[in-house]
């Protein structure tokens, strides 16, 4: 363990192995930095920016930046919290996130971040885009209204040959994550379940499985997101 280095997050002395990404290094030191497009086990891409921290006066995505010796990281400052909150608000207005009617409500990471930052109303106007729901595959429903294009399903749900069940289609404002129809026919129950779990929002749902957990017992009903990490 000779490669252990020291760094600080919000003034707290931390240690991790050199080369660890800041999000993971923070987690190892019981500090929660929110993530949406990133999840443990996947190669980070830093696209959602929710994990933004300040290092040497510059804003960086902590899921793609490795810790360095003596690094001083600012994560809990009011302006950074405000910036993260504005990202959550932008995600809420740019899709159709009807929490009261969503099967993932209470277990949704985007919603949980709304709770964490006490989003009472987004500061941006609602877009209400017209998006499709694809229920044509046997195991899952892909609801484009709720997709935040995090790419977690594309990167994590693959068949035995390593082919992704999901893929990006189109570009810019029309970009969407779609399900490969041929591959979808071969999807196992376990893969469907994992796809739903890995989706941070309610865009991937296993068919005939909505609202399984009662209100009050869902993941984020009583405990804020990150409270399993943060001490």
């Amino acid at each position: 363990m000779s490669s252990l280095i020291k760094f600080k997050i919000d003034g707290k002395e931390c240690m991790a192995e050199a080369g660890t990404f800041i999000v993971e290094a923070a987690r190892q030191n019981s500090i929660y930095i929110p993530t949406l497009c990133n999840m443990p086990g996947l190669k980070p891409k830093g696209s959602c920016r929710i994990c933004t921290v300040r290092i040497n006066g510059r804003l960086m995505t902590s899921c793609t930046t490795p810790v360095a010796d003596g690094m001083e990281i600012e994560s809990g400052s009011l302006d950074i919290i405000e910036l993260r909150k504005s990202i959550v608000e932008l995600l809420f207005v740019s899709g159709n996130h009807f929490c009261p009617a969503c099967e993932k409500s209470g277990n949704c990471e985007l919603q949980a971040l709304g709770y964490l930052y006490q989003m009472m109303v987004p500061r941006y106007p609602y877009d209400f885009p017209l998006r499709a729901v694809d229920a044509s595959s046997p195991k899952i429903i892909k609801d484009q209204n709720r997709c935040i294009l995090c790419k977690r399903c594309i990167k994590s749900i693959k068949d035995e040959d390593g082919k992704s069940f999901f893929a990006f289609r189109s570009r810019g404002n029309h970009l969407e994550v779609v399900l490969d129809q041929e591959l979808a026919a071969t999807m196992t129950d376990e893969q469907a379940e994992l796809a739903m779990q890995n989706c941070p929002v309610g865009s991937i749902l296993v068919k005939e499985k909505g609202f399984a957990t009662p209100i009050g017992k869902r993941k984020f009903d009583k405990q804020p997101i990150g409270s399993d990490i943060h001490v």
Partner: protein
């Protein structure tokens, strides 16, 4: 000092938020000590009879009548609160946003599976009926709203704590469990 005056209304909502106001249970006795109600379904006063301190809006704006009522609330109330998801973001009625009004009307009165009785294909066209808007609007996109209490419905404790904080001027505590979007 006289009691603060409260008015409430339900626009494009389901009255669930009003139910949640009643869900403060026995604190309703304290509430009538604290405030006086004016225009509201709770006391059935239909029009504003005096200037109001706090207006509570349930539901978004889906038709011309909603807009008119909302504007009269803004005119007559010092403080306006958007109560619940429908007032804040349109809520379930806003599921029609993005679908042309004509298609919605057709589905409701002509093409839908439960409308066989409408043999003459009559569409609602009486002058007395409010006009549907092109989409359902959150209240703050029509008038200025001062406070927002999310939830479907907002928890009774959230409504109570917010009202008491507003009336007494004490800071509002927001425990994690009371701010929810469903």
């Amino acid at each position: 000092m006289s009691k603060p005056i409260i008015a409430t209304t339900s626009l494009a909502g389901c009255f669930g938020c009003h139910m949640s106001i009643l869900d403060i249970d026995e604190r309703i006795l304290q509430l009538i000590e604290l405030v006086e109600f004016n225009k509201s379904p709770i006391d059935d006063i239909k029009t504003f009879t005096k200037p109001v301190d706090i207006g509570i809006i349930e539901g978004g704006c889906c038709n011309s009548e909603n807009v008119e009522v909302l504007k009269s609330f803004r005119k007559n109330c010092k403080i306006l609160i958007s109560l619940g998801e429908c007032a804040i973001m349109g809520g379930l009625p806003a599921l029609r946003n993005g679908i042309p009004v004509e298609e919605c009307i057709h589905e409701a009165y002509i093409g839908g599976p439960t409308v066989q009785l409408n043999k003459d294909h009559i569409l609602p066209n009486d002058d007395e009926l409010p006009m549907l808007l092109d989409k359902v609007y959150p209240c703050h996109e029509i008038v200025k709203i001062d406070y927002f209490l999310p939830g479907c419905p907002p928890r009774a404790d959230l409504i109570w704590d917010a009202l008491v904080a507003l009336i007494t001027g004490d800071p509002l505590k927001l425990p994690y469990e009371v701010v929810k979007f469903d």
